[in-house]
């Protein structure tokens, strides 16, 4: 009962924050709404007993990635002065495409109405997750360090080119 209520409440908060982001013109307020959606998602993870993911969500998404966004907004004053282009057709097409995606996803998920939440969904612990990450998924997990290294190299290279151009 409490789990179901938490899932619905945190889901509603995340959905409301994402919806409000659509209509928010101020980029910093949009970033704060995104932070709300990400924190609500952390609550959702906690409700479905994915404790480690909830902690990682707060540290990585709500901490590191949001800080990146705020820094990017601070160093690009262009983001504050741009006028939105009055392309109505593009907006209508975008909303129609999103509505089609949503309807298809809802149609596909209709079969899930009969599936109750599984037992292992409730009992999964951090120890099981650690055993998976350092057991069968160890190679993939280590490979991620290469992905992050490549992204650091790319970001630094782009930053150096920008400095050379100035």
């Amino acid at each position: 009962m409490i789990v179901a209520a938490s899932v619905y409440i945190f889901g509603a908060i995340a959905a409301a924050a994402t919806l409000l982001m659509l209509f928010q013109r101020n980029p910093v307020k949009a970033a704060l709404l995104m932070l709300t959606a990400l924190l609500a998602t952390a609550g959702l993870y906690l409700a479905i007993s994915a404790q480690l993911l909830a902690v990682l969500q707060v540290i990585l998404y709500a901490g590191a990635i949001m800080t990146l966004f705020i820094v990017a907004l601070a160093v690009t004053p262009e983001a504050w002065h741009d006028k939105p282009s009055p392309a109505r057709l593009k907006q209508v097409l975008g909303l129609a495409a999103a509505a089609i995606i949503y309807m298809e996803l809802v149609k596909v998920s209709a079969a899930l109405r009969a599936v109750p939440v599984s037992r292992e969904f409730r009992d999964a612990g951090t120890l099981d997750l650690a055993r998976q990450l350092f057991g069968p998924f160890a190679f993939q997990f280590e490979l991620l360090s290469l992905v992050i290294l490549a992204s650091i190299v790319a970001a630094v290279t782009l930053g150096m080119r920008r400095k050379a151009n100035q």
Partner: protein, 96 residues
């Protein structure tokens, strides 16, 4: 509670974020909506997959999201310094 509730939440979040990504023209906001789409996909993965395996994949997706945000924002800052705009519609040539 059935599996439909978390799936429905993640699908709704994904659709709203996709609508934002497709309708707004500002690059920073587009990247924000892209992150929210990835976040919604993560929720679906954790809620619908078998517990320890799906959570392992979700941890890996966190790292991918961080890498994507880093490279994306570096690109956006470079584009802003070259073109002096962040509206995707105003950037019309690939040569910087």
């Amino acid at each position: 509670m059935t599996m439909h509730a978390p799936a429905f939440i993640s699908f709704f979040l994904f659709a709203v974020a996709a609508a934002g990504f497709l309708t707004c023209g500002n690059l920073v906001r587009m990247l924000m909506f892209l992150e929210l789409m990835l976040n919604a996909a993560n929720i679906a993965l954790v809620a619908l997959g078998p517990a320890p395996q799906s959570q392992s994949y979700a941890v890996m997706l966190f790292a991918i999201a961080a890498a994507e945000a880093g490279v994306g924002l570096a690109l956006i800052i470079t584009l802003a310094s070259v073109f002096k705009t962040l509206e995707a519609g105003n950037i019309k040539e690939l040569k910087g």
